[in-house]
């Protein structure tokens, strides 16, 4: 399997203005350390042909910076990258890529049809080619009925879908999506997920960034975890997610107080609601003992769930606890 995207020591340092505002307060950036912000540090990764690669990380991790460099929007401070064996900015390579930026904004005075026609011309597609491709794509993203509506009348989900359509105009070999599910409702997220999976079925390579971990876990072949500009983990999902059970969740009811206290000693976490108790226990032996105790004290076992490690667990391990982003991660989204 050959690599379609290869980055070597890709780094980006932003030089900030001497005066910036943080939470409404002015801040002078006169010292070298405050003037320079390292957004990406020595990113080395390979994306293989035909896979779905997810770049995940909290806000400010460097995901969008990495994508912007690959798309020629930013220039790297250090390092290099190759797309389909060509250096960054190569027009042939660009013609093989479809790209959807984060929170895309398109020309709102154009209708959906005009917009795709314009972008088709930028790809160098001829008139007949555009006439054949545009209706097909509109149908694929479910916007055939909205072809004559100006984009200012589109909802966020519709804009995301027309954005996907423009990224697929050139029948690209690589599709790069920056936070494609951000801000969408569950139906919108599922639609995007389905489109990404269908792209893989067609043999396309999908490189996307996300902070929605469940979605990434559902569709990615490989992931890279970025944190504060560093790639802290990269690999196949099945390699990263160990098959071992990481903990057991036991829910019981009708237990006596002393029996609960006894099980609680070996439990990582205990939650009580009315008559029910939830124990989270890490070791198999302790879980067996807890089950015996529930039975012995006359309690009722409501559920017993062995939990395997998730992408979220790996993510939390890598980026550390106690940050604002991590609080969001426990809800499935990272900030």
């Amino acid at each position: 399997m050959d690599n379609v995207i290869v980055t070597q020591h890709l780094s980006k340092i932003y030089v900030q203005d001497f005066l910036t505002f943080e939470s409404g307060r002015p801040r002078l950036n006169l010292r070298r350390e405050t003037k320079r912000r390292e957004a990406l540090r020595d990113l080395n990764l390979e994306v293989r042909r035909g896979e779905i690669f997810g770049l995940i990380g909290p806000n400010g991790a460097g995901k969008t910076t990495a994508i912007k460099i690959l798309m020629g929007i930013h220039f790297p401070t250090r390092g290099s990258a190759k797309i389909l064996g060509r250096p960054l900015g190569d027009k042939w390579a660009k013609a093989q890529i479809g790209y959807l930026p984060e929170n895309p904004y398109f020309y709102d005075y154009l209708t959906g049809g005009e917009f795709l026609d314009y972008y088709g011309r930028l790809y160098g597609m001829g008139r007949s080619q555009r006439r054949a491709k545009i209706p097909e794509l509109l149908e694929r993203v479910g916007l055939t009925a909205s072809v004559s509506i100006p984009l200012r009348g589109y909802s966020k989900g519709m804009l995301q879908r027309i954005g996907i359509a423009q990224a697929l105009l050139n029948d690209p070999e690589i599709v790069v999506l920056d936070e494609p599910q951000s801000g969408l409702d569950p139906i919108g997220r599922k639609e995007i997920r389905d489109i990404i999976l269908s792209l893989r079925e067609q043999g396309k390579t999908v490189f996307f960034s996300s902070h929605i971990l469940q979605d990434a876990e559902m569709i990615c072949d490989r992931v890279g975890i970025l944190h504060l500009g560093d790639l802290v983990k990269i690999g196949r999902l099945e390699e990263l997610l160990t098959a071992q059970v990481s903990e057991f969740e036991i829910v019981a009811s009708g237990m006596r107080a002393e029996a609960i206290a006894e099980v609680e000693r070996t439990s990582k976490r205990t939650l009580r609601r009315a008559d029910d108790v939830l124990f989270i226990i890490e070791r198999r032996g302790d879980a067996d003992a807890a089950l015996a105790k529930i039975s012995a004290c006359g309690g009722t076992l409501l559920s017993f769930t062995p939990r395997k490690e998730t992408l979220e667990d790996i993510f939390l391990k890598q980026v550390g606890r106690g940050t604002r982003e991590v609080a969001g991660a426990s809800r499935g989204e990272v900030a």
Partner: protein
């Protein structure tokens, strides 16, 4: 080149779907038509008054629209991040800038054509009443003034694009306005520079020579020029050299007075179309190349 035309066409669509442009255009047309009323304030120069108001309005409203549309030309794409999906396509950044430039110029020329049509119909209808013997020449002179005004617009839009490619609309609007002012006063600034040299003994001849000769003259201790004189000359001559000379594109004076002034004055107010083009084409190309150079190295935030 189709990619450049696609961007130009989109820029044109954006402009013609902008309602502010129509408000200004309607205002400009009303302004041109005020000549019909204002002409009665004079006894015999009805044609001159209508031509003066019409040509002035076409020029000034063209510049106002160039400023308004030009300063946000690139900034809007950066601000709304539409540039992200453009530069990731297989096009060069210079193609994008050239497309934006041509699109805006096309829009402005269309507006000038509309304003000129109203103006020409107006002077034609007036001529039915006053039967001006020089009407045909007046038409030709007016068309030449309008054409050179279009050449001036090409230079102004290049500057607006240059400033818009690296600064905010307010700043680029201010800088473009300064270029227009400096361009209009270019010959006065040049005369001021010459006057500094001519003020010293033996400076009369040197004044007509170039920048380097002038500086060498002022640096010679024998002239008695101070460092302040040198700075004044450097600033004035430098401004006259760097900024465009918009007087080369001003054929309006000739279009108004060609039938009333004597031959000597006629020579002074005549501007050559070929000279204006020879000056404008490389000048505009240089400004555009500078804009492309700066834009090509930008990180788009």
């Amino acid at each position: 080149m189709d990619k450049v035309f696609a961007i130009a066409q989109n820029t044109f669509k954006e402009a013609i779907r902008n309602r502010v442009m129509y408000v200004i255009l309607v205002f400009a047309i009303l302004f041109i038509l005020t000549g019909v009323v204002v002409k009665d304030l004079t006894i015999a120069a009805h044609g001159l008054v209508i031509r003066a108001i019409g040509l002035w309005a076409i020029n000034v409203f063209g510049l106002i629209l160039a400023l308004l549309l030009g300063i946000g030309l690139v900034y809007t794409e950066l601000d709304k991040k539409t540039i992200y999906t453009i530069v990731s396509k297989p096009i060069d950044r210079w193609q994008f800038l050239l497309g934006k430039y041509l699109g805006l110029l096309l829009t402005l020329y269309l507006i000038v054509v509309v304003m000129s049509a109203v103006f020409l119909v107006e002077i034609h209808l007036l001529n039915r009443q006053i039967q001006d013997p020089h009407f045909g020449l007046a038409m030709l002179m007016s068309l030449k003034a309008i054409f050179l005004g279009c050449v001036e617009l090409a230079v102004v839009v290049a500057f607006a694009l240059l400033f818009s490619s690296f600064s905010s609309p307010v700043l680029s609007g201010f800088m473009t306005l300064m270029v227009i002012v400096a361009g209009r006063l270019n010959e006065d600034i040049e005369r001021f520079a010459q006057k500094i040299i001519a003020g010293f003994e033996g400076g009369g001849e040197v004044a007509k020579q170039g920048f380097l000769a002038g500086m060498a003259f002022l640096r010679d201790p024998a002239t008695g020029a101070t460092i302040f004189d040198q700075i004044k000359f450097l600033f004035a001559k430098g401004t006259a050299l760097v900024f465009p000379n918009f007087e080369l594109f001003n054929a309006r004076t000739l279009a108004l007075h060609f039938d009333t002034v004597d031959v000597n004055i006629l020579k002074m107010i005549t501007v050559s179309t070929s000279d204006a083009l020879i000056y404008a084409v490389p000048y505009t190309a240089s400004v555009l190349l500078l804009a492309m150079f700066l834009f090509g190295r930008r990180n788009f935030r």
